[in-house]
């Protein structure tokens, strides 16, 4: 499904930072992977490289269903349509209603007829549990509701993979549950998911694999059980002792 081979990412502005150092991993179809690690360890950068929001350094390869997105000949818009992304800060379109947020890309990217997009949007709103807000504008929703709309917006494209970058970090504690519930449902339905999160409960319960990153590199990979009970590396132990 996703194959990452020797991917590095260097930022030059404001000064040279190696955000990713020779990262390689594979994610199978239907797998739920949770990425954890300290702040600045390159988790977001890793995720954003997967849908080319950041361009990884030359030399590496990122294959999404066999298509190398680092190949300049690849039509990146086509690949992105298959890869949903949910951001920490929601990034809903404030000038569009909830419904329009979900139908926009369906109509302009997928070229679906209006009625079909509309029906899809309504069924997804039902799935995330906010049908009554279809005509509201994002600014009038709570953080949790906004994030659920953002998930519905990504799902409307029928993506093959969903990327989550700390989807609950900007939320008030009482709203975290409702977003995690939606994500759990998705995982149970067999969606391929890569989630950066600090919700260890979620990782323990839903993840099939946990990736621990530090200083731009993958330090340790394993099942949640292995991870939370007897990790191999000292850095992992240190990190876990700090957050648990």
């Amino acid at each position: 499904m996703i194959e990452v081979r020797n991917v590095s990412k260097t930022f030059y502005v404001p000064h040279k930072v190696k955000a990713l150092v020779d990262v390689s991993t594979e994610i199978a179809a239907g797998e739920v992977v949770v990425v954890i690690g300290p702040s600045g360890s390159g988790k977001s950068t890793f995720l954003r490289c997967l849908n080319h929001l950041e361009t990884a350094d030359a030399g590496g390869h990122i294959l999404i269903e066999g298509i190398d997105i680092l190949d300049p000949k690849t039509n990146i818009n086509k690949v992105r349509a298959e890869v949903g992304m949910v951001f920490q800060s929601f990034n809903l379109f404030p000038h569009k209603s909830v419904l329009e947020n979900i139908t926009l890309a369906q109509t302009v990217v997928r070229k679906r007829p209006k009625e079909e997009a509309h029906a899809k949007a309504m069924s997804l709103l039902e799935k995330v549990g906010i049908t009554d807000k279809a005509d509201a504008f994002p600014d009038n929703l709570s953080g949790g509701q906004q994030q659920r709309v953002a998930i519905a917006r990504a799902l409307a494209m029928d993506p093959k993979v969903m990327l989550f970058d700390e989807p609950t970090s900007a939320l008030d504690p009482e709203m975290i549950g409702e977003v995690l519930d939606v994500m759990k449902t998705l995982a149970q339905e067999g969606m391929t998911m890569v989630c950066v999160t600090h919700e260890m409960g979620f990782a323990r319960e839903v993840a099939e694999r946990v990736i621990f990153m530090d200083e731009g590199a993958i330090v340790e990979v394993g099942t949640p059980e292995h991870f939370f009970t007897n990790p191999d590396h000292d850095r992992t132990k240190l990190f876990l002792s700090q957050i648990l």
Partner: protein, 336 residues
Amino acid sequence: MKTTANTRRSMPPWKYNLWVGVFFLILFSVVLLVYIATIRIEYTWGWYKVPSTFFNRETIEISSDIDGKVVQVTRKNAEAVITIKNETESKSYTVPAEDVRVNENDLIYYGDTLATYSEWRAGIMLQGLWITLKCSIFAIIFGIIIGVIGGIARISDNPALKWSAISYVELIRGSPLLVQIFIWYFVLGTMVNQILTSYGMAEIPSLWYGVASLACFTGAYVTEIVRAGIQSIHRGQTEAARSLGMSYGQCMRYVILPQAMRRILPPLAGQFISLIKDSSLLGIIAVRELLKASREVVTTQLNPFEMYFTAAALYLVITFALSMFVQYLERKTATS
């Protein structure tokens, strides 16, 4: 809104009203001073001459093309038919019946007036007003087109686009509009028109060089306004749109520009109000806009005070109407 209300409350009503009175006193004094000054220099006010510069009734004479005798005058409703006959030919004229100058059996010579009528004509000031509006509207439309393209080029990663946009903006903003108008008309205009005539084509009227200079000038400022508007939209919006598979163009069109529009509108209104006022410079290249028309009236009627006040008032009306329209648009985009 709230702040003015607060200051009012902090001041006792009698004091507030006192200062309102002072305001009107100042206003009245200024008008009075101007009036006294005009009496001192024995200026004779002639406001009654102003309306005819907007509309006037013109008398049109219909005259005979042949010598002969009027054989028949028949009136029907508002029209009259006059038939003139001589040895060789006969001719009928259908004229408005309001002022028929001949009777049956009159002898007529070539060129004699058979009848007159009058009709309303747009005066020079109305024509000037129309030219000002026309120049401004075209310059605004082209200015917006240039500005949107320029603004997008300005934030592009492509150095050819980006540097072109920067050079354009700096070049235009760095020289006076009047100089640019001269260059458009006396340099570019001369070249283009000479080339056109050498190919046997008609020359382009000076109005269009005027429109081009205004559009180019405004376009540079609109470019900067559009750039600032786009850059004020959070990067997350672009990322969300692109992550859904939208192309750069789709992202701009559906996500960024509609949001930027709200922030662009107020400074854009200010820019276009300047543009309308700047169109008064076009008189220098023989475009007969509002101010040029006023100046022409003044040379014949010798009433500069009235004409220049009238011109100023008309500019005020246009710019005020524009700012009202933009406020309406702002309210509309704010709710949608």
